[in-house]
C-alpha cells in the first residue's frame, strides 16, 4: 500500500459511482486505476467487460471534462513509474493492461495531449526491449501505431533490431505512417526468413484506412513487393488487394511465376495458347512477342522493377537451358548489364542478377561450343 489512498464509492449493483471519482485527487485516482487493472477491486461486481482496461475506458467516457483530465494525469504518472521501474512493479498495474488503457484513452484525445505519452512510450519501448509479441516493447509500439505517431525510420529500425522477426508486423505498420516505401522495403529485406506476405495481407486494410494513402502508389509498391513472394502467396495477396479495391496490374513476370500461362498469353496478345501449354513451349513459340514486350515493360516500370522483371526473365531462360533463342539471350544479357550499371539496385537483387548473368554466360558458352561443333 502506498500511504492513505481514497477509493471511489461503489453502489449496490457493484458499479463505481462516477461522482465520487470526481472527488479523488490524482494520486488516489492512479492508485485505484492500478488496483482495478490488477483485477483487485473486489467491490466491482457490476463489471461486465472481460478486461479491466475496457471497464476503465468505459468509466473514463462517463467522466466530466475536468475528471478526464485528472484521469489522464493519473495514467501519465503510472506510465512514468513504469518507465522508471521497468515494468516489474509489485504493487502496480500489469503493464499490458495499463498500455492498452493508455491507448484507448489517448487515442480519443487531441494530438497535443498525446505528446508526453508518446515520448514516454518511445522511451519505454527503447529501454525494455524484449523479443516476442507479448513484451512491453511490442505493446508500446502497438500503442504508438494506434496513436498514429510518426517516428523516424531509424527509430523503427532500432525496434526491429531488438524485436527480431516477431516485430516485423508492428514495424511495418509504424513505418507505413512515415513512408510506405520504407515499410515495404523492410519486409522485402526480410522476405527470406519470414512470411512477409501474411503480414501485408493482415495490415492492408489498416494501411488503406489511414488517411493520405495513394492507392495507385500503393498498387505499384504492392506489385514490386509481390515479386518477393512465393507464387501462392502472390496469388493470395493479389486476390486480397482486389477485394480491398487496390487494382494491381497483371505483370507478365508474376503471371509467369504463378504459372498462369493463359492469362500471360492474353496479356501479351498471343493467340493459340491452350490449357496445358508448358512454359517452355510458350517461350519457344512466342519468343518474338515476349522479346518485344520486355523492353516496353522495363520502360514503363519504376526503378525497382526492371531488375525484378529482368531477373524473372533470366530465371526462366535458365530454366529452359540451351533451348533459348540466341537473340533473346543476348538482349537479356545486355539489359542486365546496363541495369547493373545504371541503377542502384538493392543488394539482394544485385547479387541475384549477377548470379544469373554468370549463369547466362555459361549457357552462352555452351551454345557457342555447340555451334562450333556443328560446323566442325
Amino acid at each position: 500500500m502506498r500511504g492513505d489512498r481514497r477509493y471511489p464509492e461503489v453502489d449496490q449493483a457493484g458499479e463505481v459511482e462516477t461522482e465520487s471519482l470526481h472527488l479523488l485527487d490524482v494520486p488516489s485516482l492512479g492508485y485505484w486505476i492500478a488496483v482495478v487493472l490488477r483485477g483487485e477491486d473486489m467491490r466491482l461486481v457490476g463489471q461486465r467487460e472481460d478486461r479491466p482496461y475496457l471497464y476503465l475506458s468505459r468509466i473514463y467516457r462517463t467522466l466530466s471534462t475536468e475528471a478526464r483530465g485528472s484521469f489522464r494525469d493519473a495514467l501519465c504518472t503510472l506510465l512514468v513509474e513504469l518507465t522508471q521501474e521497468g515494468g516489474a512493479l509489485s504493487a502496480e498495474p500489469p503493464p499490458e493492461e495499463l498500455l492498452l488503457l493508455i491507448t484507448k484513452v489517448f487515442s480519443a484525445t487531441e494530438e497535443q495531449l498525446r505528446g508526453e505519452v508518446v515520448s514516454l512510450l518511445r522511451e519505454l519501448a527503447s529501454r525494455f526491449p524484449a523479443r516476442g509479441s507479448a513484451g512491453i516493447q511490442h505493446r508500446c509500439l502497438q500503442a504508438l501505431v494506434s496513436l498514429r505517431h510518426v517516428a523516424p525510420p531509424s527509430f523503427w529500425d532500432r525496434q526491429l533490431e531488438a524485436l527480431g522477426e516477431d516485430g516485423l508486423g508492428v514495424v511495418f505498420s509504424g513505418l507505413s505512417l512515415v513512408s510506405m516505401e520504407a515499410a515495404f522495403r523492410v519486409l522485402e529485406d526480410n522476405a527470406e526468413d519470414s512470411d512477409v506476405g501474411r503480414i501485408v495481407f493482415a495490415r492492408l486494410p489498416g494501411v488503406l484506412r489511414r488517411s493520405g494513402v495513394d492507392r495507385e502508389k500503393l498498387a505499384i509498391l504492392l506489385e514490386g513487393f509481390c515479386a518477393c513472394l512465393s507464387p501462392e502467396s502472390q496469388g493470395d495477396l493479389r486476390d486480397w488487394a482486389k477485394v480491398l479495391g487496390v487494382a494491381l496490374r497483371a505483370s507478365p513476370f508474376t503471371l509467369w511465376a504463378s504459372a498462369d500461362l493463359l492469362s500471360l498469353a492474353n496479356l501479351l496478345g498471343l493467340t493459340g495458347v491452350e490449357e496445358g501449354t508448358s512454359r517452355k513451349d510458350l517461350l519457344l513459340a512466342f519468343h518474338g512477342s515476349l522479346l518485344s514486350h520486355l523492353p516496353a515493360e522495363m520502360v514503363s516500370l519504376d526503378a525497382g522493377e526492371p531488375a525484378l522483371a529482368l531477373l524473372t526473365a533470366c530465371k526462366l531462360v535458365l530454366e529452359i537451358g540451351d533451348a533459348i533463342p540466341r537473340r533473346l539471350l543476348e538482349r537479356l544479357r545486355a539489359s542486365a548489364e546496363s541495369l547493373l550499371n545504371e541503377l542502384e539496385l538493392r543488394s539482394g537483387f544485385r547479387t541475384e542478377l549477377l548470379v544469373c548473368l554468370f549463369e547466362l554466360e555459361d549457357i552462352d558458352l555452351v551454345l557457342h561450343l555447340k555451334e562450333h561443333a556443328e560446323i566442325a
Partner: protein
C-alpha cells in the same frame, strides 16, 4: 480420484459444516452469477481432493474480507486450474465441425494480442473485409490468429444435423441457445474443423469460473455424458440447447466456412 464438494464436506466437523453452508448461502445471495457458481460448485463431481480442500478453506477462512473477496479468490483459483483442461474427453462426430460465436470487438482484440494487428480499429477493419470471403481466403488471412484467449467454448454439428445455425436463425436465438447474453454488439460466427490433435472436453466448474465476468448460464455436465449441454438464457428460447465442449485455443487455419455476422433481427446473414 474425484468427488463432489459435498462428499468432501461430510468429513468436516459439524461446526465447520454449518459455517460452510452459511457462507455458501451468503455467496449465493450476492448476484445471479454467484448463485449459479454455488449451484455448479455443489454439482461438480470432478473435483480432486486437493480442490475440495482449497475450496473449503477458501469458504471457511476468517481472513477473507467479505463475499466479494471470496468470489475473486474462486476466480483466481479457477484460473490456476484452467491451465490444464480437466474434463473428460467429449464424444464428437467424426466430422468434428465446430462453431463458436464471438463479438467483433473481442476477435479484434485477439488479433492485436497476437501481434497480427496493431490497433483495434484496424483489426475491426480487417475482419470486416474478411466477411463473406471464401474460406480459403479467411484461413489464409487468419492462419495464425488465435480463435480464443485461454480456452475455447464451442458447440458442434451433431450426426443428425446438416448445418448450424439454421439459415433463418436470428442472432438472439443463436445466443439464447448457446447460453450467452448479448448486448447488441455485432456477433461473428466462426465455423471450423477441430484438428484431431486437439481434444474436446466436457466443460468443468474450473473452466467456467476462470472467466471474467462469469456467465450465469452454465451448468456442469453430469459424469458419463458424452458432452456438455448449454444452458439457454430464456425458457422462451426457440432453439434447443446445444452440445457444448471446451478445447485448447486453436488458430484460424482451421476455419472452414466464410466469416459472417449473425443477423440482429432480419433473419438473414449479412454479407
Amino acid at each position: 480420484m474425484t468427488r463432489t464438494l459435498e462428499a468432501h464436506a461430510a468429513l468436516l466437523s459439524e461446526e465447520k459444516l454449518l459455517k460452510l453452508r452459511a457462507r455458501i448461502r451468503a455467496v449465493r445471495s450476492v448476484s445471479r452469477a454467484a448463485n449459479e457458481m454455488c449451484i455448479n460448485m455443489l454439482a461438480e463431481s470432478r473435483f480432486e481432493r486437493l480442490d475440495c480442500g482449497l475450496l473449503c478453506r477458501l469458504l471457511l477462512t476468517e481472513k477473507i474480507d467479505g463475499v466479494a473477496e471470496t468470489l475473486l479468490l474462486v476466480r483466481r483459483l479457477a484460473r490456476k486450474k484452467r491451465r490444464q483442461l480437466s474434463g473428460e474427453p467429449a464424444v464428437l462426430p467424426k466430422e468434428r465441425r465446430c462453431f463458436r460465436v464471438i463479438t467483433l470487438e473481442k476477435m479484434a482484440r485477439l488479433l492485436c494480442d497476437a501481434g497480427i494487428q496493431d490497433d483495434e480499429e484496424s483489426a475491426r477493419a480487417f475482419l470486416e473485409e474478411l466477411l463473406g470471403q471464401p474460406a480459403s481466403t479467411l484461413a489464409s488471412g487468419l492462419a495464425d490468429a488465435p480463435l480464443g484467449r485461454h480456452i475455447i467454448w464451442s458447440t458442434f454439428l451433431l450426426p443428425n444435423e446438416r448445418a448450424w445455425p439454421p439459415p433463418d436463425a436470428k442472432a438472439e436465438e443463436v445466443l439464447c441457445a448457446l447460453g450467452i447474453e448479448g448486448d447488441g454488439s455485432p456477433i461473428l460466427l466462426l465455423s471450423y474443423f477441430l484438428p484431431l490433435s486437439c481434444v474436446a472436453r466436457l466443460p468443468t466448474f474450473w473452466d467456467a469460473y476462470s472467466a471474467d465476468p462469469w456467465n450465469p448460464f452454465f451448468r456442469v455436465a453430469a459424469r458419463g455424458e458424452p458432452y456438455g449441454l448449454t444452458m439457454q438464457t430464456s425458457d422462451e428460447c426457440c432453439g434447443a440447447a446445444r452440445p457444448e465442449v471446451v478445447h485448447e485455443v486453436i488458430v484460424g487455419q482451421y476455419l472452414d466456412e466464410p466469416l459472417r455476422y449473425l443477423s440482429a433481427a432480419s433473419g438473414e446473414m449479412e454479407k
